[in-house]
Symmetry: C2
Subunit: 517 residues, 2 copies
């Protein structure tokens, strides 16, 4: 992953001509290059004495303090993160990167961090967009990034139970390749899939583009092994039970603040024999949303189900290579079906009938969406290069509140950023009782784009939580969403999180400043 951009530079490229023209006309562009990587100012590397102590725990090849290694583990991939790095601010860098090779080594590194009062930031794919990797430095003797890259094995496959045990450092494609060799799939494909890790998916409650068919990541997890300052926590005796509170649901969403996940037992499914993606056009966002709700409440969800609003449809965001090109109007919906030929045929037929009955019309573009599905984030870098501020944010609420929250968040963003702001939205995760809203925002960057965005983000977050929606559907909390998490769960909820944190990590070295209000 590039240090200040998304993904693989070979996959990136300049903004497509149509997109550039659109943005230039509507927003305006200014060449805004990033500094060179060597110019980014990082923290001082960890003292040699402390490096030697860590090296004694994990081996000297696995404690790194060079500029490039630390730079690549500095913050995540939110627009504020990128703006800071592009401007040369690497102040949240780790002082060292340590790469333990076993659960026992993770325990040892944690114990060392406790003893030395060094902050420890678990690092998986580095794709956080909520400040989940920007630990608090104040009050600590240093900050160490615990890179899980050596946890890259498929440890066990149970074909009868259809479960597999995956190590947390596996990136999405690595995990899928190991499972595919067994004829299996996890079915978890968030937009960050190519870089994000199994451990990260678990501790952030990730949700992927195929969540309608395979489920959210937290619903795929049946067991967890966690290294904590108190020792090892192993959970998951069964698919579900009545043995008290479900502590798996405390570890999931804990974002490295309670311990380091070292193994994840997940549900797996057979590799689908067939994958088909259809596109539909709806007269309005409301019509399309009603159709999605009808499918969800009828228990007829396809594997992929997403709906772009009028703005997102108009600029073809569903097909990154064609952004700004001609659009037929209305609202684009993608329906994807994966499984055996018979199951796909039956589900596609049933969904097609229902959507047709509800007024949807079939159009082209399903396969194009599938091909470009992981390419969206590259566009942001191209826009930042020309001085356009662009970011995404998301929420989830009950169906009866969806349209209200959609309107309020759009108003908040335009109110904060001005009329020359593009706000695009899609629904990409649906439940019987509600759905997510995923916004993409683009506007002309000011002289201080960081604070320009933070003000808009705060206004949008107030609109979400103030109107009864959640501060996040699948991006998690990190540092950026903490104030709104506190509002969402209330003072008693905050006290519970603090109590668990205090018990598990009494000296507070695990990802300090993240999650816990």
């Amino acid at each position: 992953m590039h240090w200040s951009r998304w993904g693989d530079p070979a996959e990136a490229g300049p903004l497509p001509e149509n997109a550039f023209a659109l943005v230039d006309a509507f927003i305006g562009t200014t060449d805004t290059p990033a500094v060179a990587s060597a110019e980014v100012r990082l923290s001082e590397p960890l003292d040699a004495d402390l490096v030697a102590e860590l090296a004694a725990l994990v081996g000297e090849d696995h404690v790194l303090t060079d500029h490039e290694t630390r730079l690549h583990r500095t913050r995540g991939k939110s627009t504020p993160d990128l703006l800071r790095l592009r401007a040369g601010d690497g102040s949240d860098s780790p002082d060292a990167v340590v790469r333990p090779g076993s659960h026992e080594e993770v325990l040892a590194v944690i114990d060392w961090c406790v003893a030395k009062h060094v902050a420890l930031v678990p690092f998986g794919g580095g794709t956080s967009v909520v400040g989940g990797l920007a630990a608090q430095r104040d009050g600590f003797a240093g900050v160490v990034s615990l890179d899980l890259i050596r946890f890259d094995q498929l440890l066990e496959v149970d074909r009868t139970s259809m479960t597999a045990v995956l190590e947390p450092g596996l990136r999405g494609p690595q995990a899928e390749a190991l499972l595919a060799a067994e004829g299996l799939t996890l079915g978890h494909f968030p937009q960050s899939f190519e870089y994000a890790s199994i451990g990260g998916f678990a501790v952030t409650r990730s949700s992927g583009q195929s969540s309608a068919g395979y489920g959210r990541f937290d619903s795929l997890v049946v067991g967890l092994k966690v290294a904590t300052p108190q020792g090892t926590l192993e959970l998951g005796s069964s698919p579900a039970n009545a043995a008290g509170p479900d502590l798996r649901e405390l570890v999931m969403g804990s974002e490295g603040t309670l311990g380091v996940v070292t193994a994840v037992r997940v549900r797996v499914r057979p590799v689908p024999e067939v994958k088909v993606y259809d596109a539909w056009r709806w007269a309005s966002f409301a019509d399309g949303a009603t159709a999605m709700r009808t499918l969800a409440q009828a228990g007829m969800l396809p594997t992929v189900l997403r709906l772009s609003d009028e703005n997102e449809t108009a600029i073809n965001l569903a097909k990154p290579s064609e952004v700004g090109g001609e659009s037929a109007g209305g609202c684009l919906m993608i329906t994807g079906y994966e499984g055996t030929p018979a199951a796909v045929e039956a589900k596609q037929a049933a969904v097609t009938k229902l959507l047709s009955d509800l007024g949807g019309t079939r159009t082209e573009g399903g396969e194009a969406w599938a091909q470009g599905r992981f390419h969206g984030p590259y566009l942001r870098d191209s826009l930042l290069d020309v001085g356009v501020l662009v970011e995404t944010l998301e929420t989830v609420t009950f169906w009866s509140n969806l349209d209200h929250v959609y309107s309020r968040v759009k108003e908040a963003l335009v109110g904060a950023l001005g009329e020359a702001t593009l706000v695009l939205c899609h629904i990409s995760h649906v439940y019987e009782t509600g759905a997510s809203l995923y916004f993409t925002v683009a506007t002309k960057g000011s002289d201080d784009p960081l604070n320009q965005w933070l003000a808009a983000k705060a206004a949008a977050s107030d609109a979400m939580v103030g109107n009864g929606a959640s501060i996040t559907h699948h991006h998690a909390v990190g540092r950026d969403h903490k104030p709104w998490l506190a509002q969402e769960i209330g003072p008693v909820g905050v006290e519970i999180l603090r109590a668990v944190k205090e018990k598990m990590d009494p000296t507070g070295v695990l990802n300090p400043g993240v999650l816990i209000p």
Copy 2:
């Protein structure tokens, strides 16, 4: 509910003739009557001064100390509970029963219990079979039962989101009647349905006979309002989100130890237009279980799916009125389908084809099961009357471990109780990755049936947890399962539960002795 028996005496009756003959021949019978209710020795009623203080909070009509009222809220409905009561031991009785009428009154009663160091036992339907109502008396100034009977309203229906807010004191049939008037159903039908309450379902992670179609109760809950010593906790901004640990999953399963649930927002579905129950016969329990697993992993679950083992099939336990009658052998499976005519027809056809392909044969008995589905518990009382010790216990594990756990638990029970012990089993809750095992045990009661059972229960529990299964699929923890919960979640898991308890209820007045190891 009868004070020492299940349910409504008008629904009960002597053991059917065939059943009596079977039990008499295999186990032997001895007339073993219970004491009269007036002879049960209860605790001393709460002091008049304290009663007056409580009356000031909730009104004097709602603080009761008479023998009958307290007797009816003494313990739950496990066999040990019944054996103690039948022998006249009411030592776990509450000293008073208090019936608050609002969330604010619950908060006030909690605050009063904290101030006076009086133990508080939330009471819903009184159907616990794990000692969930037998709070610790030692160290407290008294024990008060907080009866939620006045929390009996359907507070809100959201037809768009298909959610409803139910009060916790609603019994199963009351809740279903209120929802049915709106054309809706919860679809939660545990065997305790006729007496158990919405609040109890939530805090014990109940699972019902239609769980394959409607889901476990914890999967139906989207929001909770809880009165705690720290104030009010309100959870449930959305169907699902990534806003940190899911604290709903801490309240569910908390069994009254962290607070008192005063409102529950649940998913609801349309009242099914059609209900069809089929019966199937399998050559063996293993064959039937494989068929269930195939259905679950193919995403083709009917609404009801259960399978009796050879022993349970042989004595017709699936049809309480015919226990001991003639049986055709093999293993009986029930498949139930509920929904629209079209959905039922399609699902029934698909399941029928798959089960036929796997070697199942259709037989009669599906509708008979549905008619007798809530009648099983009455049999136990009839057996206790003739000196036969009978009890149920349950577990859940992954499919690959299911047969192993089944054998080990049966061995443990026969090892503890002797060869002249009937052990019956069914699978009634299935998941993609595993399933529950529900055992019914009958043996000749000894001179000390209570300790006879406790020893057998301990052996069976060791066999469950020692072989990697959970101590409970849906009966919950209470006092009876505590030692095994501690093994199942390990010392770090126990510390987490204790930390949350200490924060929420620092003086420990909420259901002391229950759940928290």
